[in-house]
Amino acid sequence: MAEKVSASFRDPSGFMFKRDGEFYRQVNHSYKEDFDMLMSSGLYQHLSKANALIPHQEAELDLSPISDKAYKIIKPLQLDFISYPYEWCFNQYKDAAILTLSIARRALEYGMVLKDASAYNIQFHEGRPIFIDTLSFEAYKEGLPWVAYKQFCQHFLAPLALMAKTDIRLLALMRNYIDGIPLDLASALLPKSTKLNFGLATHIHIHAKSQQKYADQKLSQKELTGKVSKQALYNLLDSLLTVVRSLKVKTIMTEWADYYQDNNYTESSFEAKRDLVADFIKQINPKTVWDLGGNTGEFSRCASDLGISTVSFDIDPGAVQQNYAIVKSKKEKFMLPLLMDLTNPSPSIGWHNQERDSLKERGPADLIMALALIHHMAIANNVPLREVARSFAELGEHLLIEFVPKQDSQVVRLLSSRLDIFPDYNPGEFKEAFSEYYTILDEKPVTGSERTMYLMKRK
């Protein structure tokens, strides 16, 4: 049974569908010429060789759910996890923007142009961004401006500029504005000093004004005195590349990024915990691991170092950014660091609430890891243990969870500034609450602490 994927319904060139758990892309007859050009011009070969564009194979036409429109069916490389821009750290976002512009530039060399520049066209695969929309290319027509310029500014430049110049947390706006941050809003939120920055002044501030000015106006010859040459398009892309590259976030001094330097682990107990986690992972032998509250990925790497596809979620942009820096420097292929507030995880958004999946809909993972997390859920966020168990059980098949008792220094710290209203927060109640949703397979003490590690399988 083939099922259309609701993320790609806007594009008349084709759509994604899923059959027997695998993703395919239909190329409609209407996109025939552009698709043939992509494949025969050498652009596809170039980009897929550079790992910039997702590679695909041709598949049988009769796989299509609407085969009368089908020119070709392609089966792209299957990705382990789909992430969204509002889950990326600053540098992931920046790399995605640079990739998009570089592809647009490269396409021009082959006589094609990127017809859209949506941030959702980028995914992370083997530690690097990759462009996934094979149907985004069309033949370049001399003299035309870049149709995706507005979209690029809304999807990439505005969020990056806001994160770099105003506040890193403004990334959350992407969760609300599915077609990118409106430029007039970005312009209003950016500090005045950015009007002196040539790139931001033109591509955001003046661009926003220009949009306002011409919003209801029909374009007439009088207003359009110039023609946008191919060289002008190159210049535009280069100018965007320059401004994107210049955007940086200050060293993010956030709560958790220096956690491991700042806590009371000794080196030997740290090693022991790592061995314990690795042993438990090997017992389950999962294909996918989600490490919830993974910080900089220290323990997530127990899984990814074994070649297991691992997503390491954390609420702290600084920690995710550090994790991504490690992925890049070590060229790690199995680790994907992402930003996620587990008390308010990514919802399903967009048309019919089906365009972008919630975190839960992207699961279940084979193994959920929740190390040194339970006290943040139960004590810092007042989530009852039963609720934590129910939520974790919906995300994955197995659970590796560390119980952090009240006498642990981290919990003492959490409780130091507030009234202890958690009489049920103890190992006995913890096991009882989790047993409602899970069978406990194994439990072991964490050496050098009073914590216990549990391996569970959901009922």
Partner: protein, 79 residues
Amino acid sequence: MSQLFSFLMKPKQYLDPGAGSLIIQVILGVLLGAGVAIRVFWKQIKSFFTGKKGADAEFDPTEIESSEVIDITEDQKDK
């Protein structure tokens, strides 16, 4: 010219490129063109005096890294 733009604004494009977003590109075309010319000129002057060529172009993720290319298409075929 107006034909050019009316072509862009027709429903053939499934994205609305936005009139203002197109017009600003015409303006930027002139501005950036001048900027590039000045930069190239400046680099030439600089390299004439220092004898050095300009710094290498920045990292381009669409550049094929010969040492690292893993042909994923081939991998998939084996599966």
